[in-house]
């Protein structure tokens, strides 16, 4: 399908020429969407393509954001070091958490990600001296260029584009193919000689790394961090984005992020009951569109992409 190939490029072109004509509010809104789109796509890398029930992916987002912020705020280290340290710290956290999680499967895997993730949250929440505790950290001294919304917009868009390209390449590589094989059939994967624990751990770390990049981007846009970044509800929100867009599609989570972030900001100006709206979206989604928006379209317009059984079928892997 030729059209499907060019749609992302058209999107990118439109987003590149938009800033001069957009009000500031929408620049900010879109930059926020780019950040969360990267986060959701990194989650889907292991959730949709790896078949791993990662219930607390926001942890790596938070670790990336906090590491970056703390280094800028409390150490004289140069900006570039802090930028690199964010994702690296997130990947390292993913390595530690993943090392335990890949030993179990299915729901037990999910419960472990949740439990260990909450541990990280608790540390950040309690360690007030370093992290500011409940209040978080504000006024992160990012270089002055980022004070312009336009810069923040272009930087987040560029990083998002590059990261998506890299993740796409990885999914098309032998590593990605093998990852999907372990998702589809762990037992068979083992018997063709794949070390599934190691492979899953590697995928877990890669996903954590990209979530860490999203964390750094978040600070560049917001210039502040708070424990809510890695709260469990944040993790649930990005999981809903993946479901909404389509777990088996590459661009689905980014689309889901766009819809959810847009709605949460719009609805938030009219009512306090955003979670109610989110609940209704989730309900409709599960009942009407279990394969997500892009999954539904893929199924309708081509043989592949959507899958009849839905993702849950293999979740016990």
């Amino acid at each position: 399908m030729q059209l499907r190939r060019i749609i992302p490029w058209i999107m990118l072109a439109v987003l590149l020429v938009l800033p001069p004509v957009l009000p500031r509010y929408y620049l900010y809104l879109l930059a926020s969407i780019f950040v969360i789109a990267l986060l959701a796509t990194s989650l889907n890398f292991i959730l949709g393509f790896g078949g791993l029930l990662q219930l607390h992916h926001a942890v790596f987002f938070g670790v990336g954001a906090y590491t970056f912020s703390i280094l800028l705020l409390k150490t004289p280290l140069p900006f570039v070091v802090a930028v690199v340290a964010g994702p690296v710290a997130a990947a390292f956290t993913a390595l530690l958490i993943g090392w335990f999680c890949v030993r179990s499967r299915g729901l037990y895997f999910g419960m472990l990600t949740l439990a260990l993730g909450q541990l990280v949250w608790a540390v950040i929440f309690r360690w007030s001296a370093l992290t500011g505790g409940d209040d978080g950290l504000h006024g992160i001294p990012v270089p002055e260029v980022f004070n312009s919304l336009k810069t923040a917009y272009y930087v987040t868009l560029t990083v998002l584009t590059v990261c998506l390209a890299v993740l796409y390449l990885i999914l098309k590589s032998p590593f990605g193919l093998t990852l999907m094989a372990t998702r589809d059939n762990p037992v068979r994967s083992e018997s063709v000689g794949i070390n599934i624990r190691r492979h899953r751990l590697a995928a877990f770390v890669i996903a954590g790394f990209f979530a860490g990049i999203a964390g750094v981007l978040f600070v560049l846009v917001e210039k502040s961090v708070s424990p809510s970044l890695l709260s469990w509800s944040k993790s649930a929100e990005i999981m809903i984005m993946c479901l909404l867009g389509g777990l088996t599609t590459f661009y689905g989570p980014a689309l889901g992020a766009g819809i959810i972030v847009f709605l949460s900001m719009k609805v938030g100006t009219y009512t306090e009951y955003w979670l109610l709206v989110l609940g209704i979206i989730l309900l409709v989604l599960v009942l009407v569109l279990p394969q997500g928006i892009l999954g539904f379209l893929a199924e309708k317009y081509s043989g592949r992409g959507g899958d009849k059984g839905g993702w849950g079928k293999d979740a016990s892997g």
């Binding site: 590589s173 590593f175 093998t178 094989a181 589809d184 059939n185 068979r188 994967s189 018997s191 063709v192």
Partner: protein
């Protein structure tokens, strides 16, 4: 090539394998036969590392492999097919086999080379050998049952094993599909010199392809030898072949 010595395995009190012995000489086709529940599949799972033996030894080329993980055993040259269809349903036929070939060449960790450019020839070779080339791009959910069974075999061959374990390769197949599989097995044994260990219910097939038999009854090896010897064996006649023997 493969030796199973006094192996035992129990599942929470149930002795699935009590005392199994088996010798698979290089280049031969060996069949494990026995009634339902005799422990044939359990024995296979022990050899391929999906289960750990409680007791006994499993030697492959003289090296102990009992208790190793499934992927390690596969890398040593032991590949298997499964009794029930066990493929990668959301990958296409080519990719199903390619995964095994990639694993064989230790290329599953490559992150940035497009997979479609790697081990294409080796994968096509296997597909060609088994007549699956026409279905190359088909999502393997959409293949017929018989073709999925052949694909099952193709994935195992993708690992380029020295010994191939086939767990009921013709279970549920039509007579015509069965003939295809038998031809493939014979071809692999004679032309490729592959060592094959199989379990099968179809006695005609067993006596047709196997050069050596092992009879498993209630988890115990009760006879081992050439098809003629086994056919004449009193214990086997009582336990299994019954009046047909």
């Amino acid at each position: 090539m493969l030796q199973v010595k006094q192996v035992a395995k129990a599942f929470s009190g149930f002795q699935a394998i009590a005392k199994a012995d088996l010798t698979v000489p290089k280049g031969q086709v060996v069949a494990v036969i026995g009634p339902n529940g005799a422990g044939k599949s359990t024995l296979f799972n022990l050899i391929t590392g999906h289960l750990r033996p409680d007791k006994g030894h499993i030697l492959f080329k003289g090296e102990e492999i009992g208790g190793l993980s499934a992927h390690d055993i596969c890398r040593k040259g032991v590949a298997r097919s499964f009794q029930l269809i066990n493929i990668f349903p959301r990958l296409n036929t080519f990719e199903n086999v390619q995964v095994a070939v990639l694993a064989r060449y230790r290329k599953t960790n490559k992150l940035f080379t497009p997979a479609r450019k790697l081990v294409v020839e080796e994968t096509n070779d296997v597909l060609h050998k088994l007549g699956l080339i026409p279905y190359r791009e088909r999502l393997c959910n959409s293949l017929s049952y018989g073709d999925q069974k052949v694909l099952e075999l193709a994935i195992a061959l993708g690992s380029q094993p020295e010994i191939l374990l086939l767990d009921e390769p013709t279970a549920g197949m039509s007579p015509e599909e069965t003939r295809t599989i038998v031809k493939l097995i014979k071809n692999l044994a004679q032309n490729e010199g592959l060592t094959i260990l199989l379990t099968e219910h179809d006695m005609d097939l067993v006596f047709d392809v196997a050069e050596r038999l092992m009879v498993l009854h209630q988890g115990q090896t009760i006879a081992e030898g050439s098809p003629e010897e086994v056919r004449r064996d009193k214990a086997v006649q009582n336990a299994y072949l019954g009046e047909t023997g």
